[in-house]
Subunit: 134 residues, 2 copies
C-alpha cells in the first residue's frame, strides 16, 4: 500500500503524496510531470515537482529521459539499495509519444573502464510502436 512505501522511505505520507504515488503505480509506463498533473487535477504542479524530488531522494522513483520534451518518472520496483535503477529497457514511440516499458528486456551493464563507478543506467530505444506502424 502506498502509505507503507512512503513511511519505509522516511517520507511523511500526506494526501498529495499518496495520490501521486498511486497515480504512478496505476500507470503501466513512466509518467511525465504533466501527465501526473492531468491525472490529479486537484494537485498543484509545484507540489508534484517537490514531491517527485522528494521521492527521488528517497529512492522511490527514478528518471527516464526518453527523447520527448519532458523527463519521465517511474516507480522503482527493485529493492532500493543506493543504485536506483530498475534495469529494464524503455521504448519511446516517435510518432505517438508514448513510452513503453519492455520489462522482458534487461539492461546489461557492461564492465566500465578503470575508475568509473556506475550508479544508474538510462537505456531507451526510440522508434515506431506497433499501433503507429500499421
Amino acid at each position: 500500500m502506498e502509505e507503507e512505501l512512503l513511511r519505509e522511505a522516511g517520507i511523511k505520507p500526506t494526501a498529495a503524496r499518496i495520490l501521486i504515488m498511486r497515480a504512478m503505480s496505476a500507470a503501466d509506463h513512466p509518467l511525465s510531470m504533466a501527465e501526473i498533473g492531468d491525472a490529479l487535477e486537484t494537485v498543484d504542479k509545484s507540489v508534484i515537482s517537490r514531491t517527485l524530488a522528494l521521492f527521488r531522494a528517497g529512492g522511490l522513483i527514478h528518471i527516464i529521459q526518453d527523447g520527448s520534451e519532458s523527463v519521465r518518472y517511474e516507480l522503482c520496483r527493485c529493492s532500493h539499495a543506493g543504485d536506483d535503477e530498475d534495469l529494464h529497457t524503455h521504448f519511446h514511440c516517435e510518432c505517438c509519444g508514448r513510452t513503453f516499458c519492455l520489462k522482458d528486456i534487461p539492461v546489461h551493464v557492461p564492465p566500465l573502464p578503470e575508475g568509473f563507478r556506475a550508479h544508474s543506467v538510462n537505456y531507451v530505444i526510440s522508434g515506431i510502436c506497433p499501433e503507429c506502424l500499421r
Copy 2:
C-alpha cells in the same frame, strides 16, 4: 574537412555552420547547445539551434540525453544510413557533469517484441568519473 561533410549532406557550408561543425569535431565528448554557444561567442544561439536541427535532419549529428539539464549533440562517425545513432555507450558524471564517450563499449540492440521498429538508441550510464572519485 568540415566543408566536405556539409556538402555531402546537402547543406550549404556557411561560416557559422563550419564553425559549429568544427567545434563539435574538436570536442571529444558530446556538447550541449550552451557549450557550443560558449565556444563560439560570435554565433547567436538561435543560429545554433537552427543549425543543429539542420545537421540532425541531414544525419550529421545525433542526440544524447545524459541526465543533465540539457540535451547533448555529437557528430555521427558512422556512415549515415537512416538509423542515425552511433552505437557506443556514454558515461555521465553526476559530480562534474561531464559526459564521456566510451567508444569501446558497444550498445547491443536487443530483439524487440513483435511490431516495434527501432530507430535509435540512447544508452547512458550515470555515476562518478575517475577524477571526481579520488
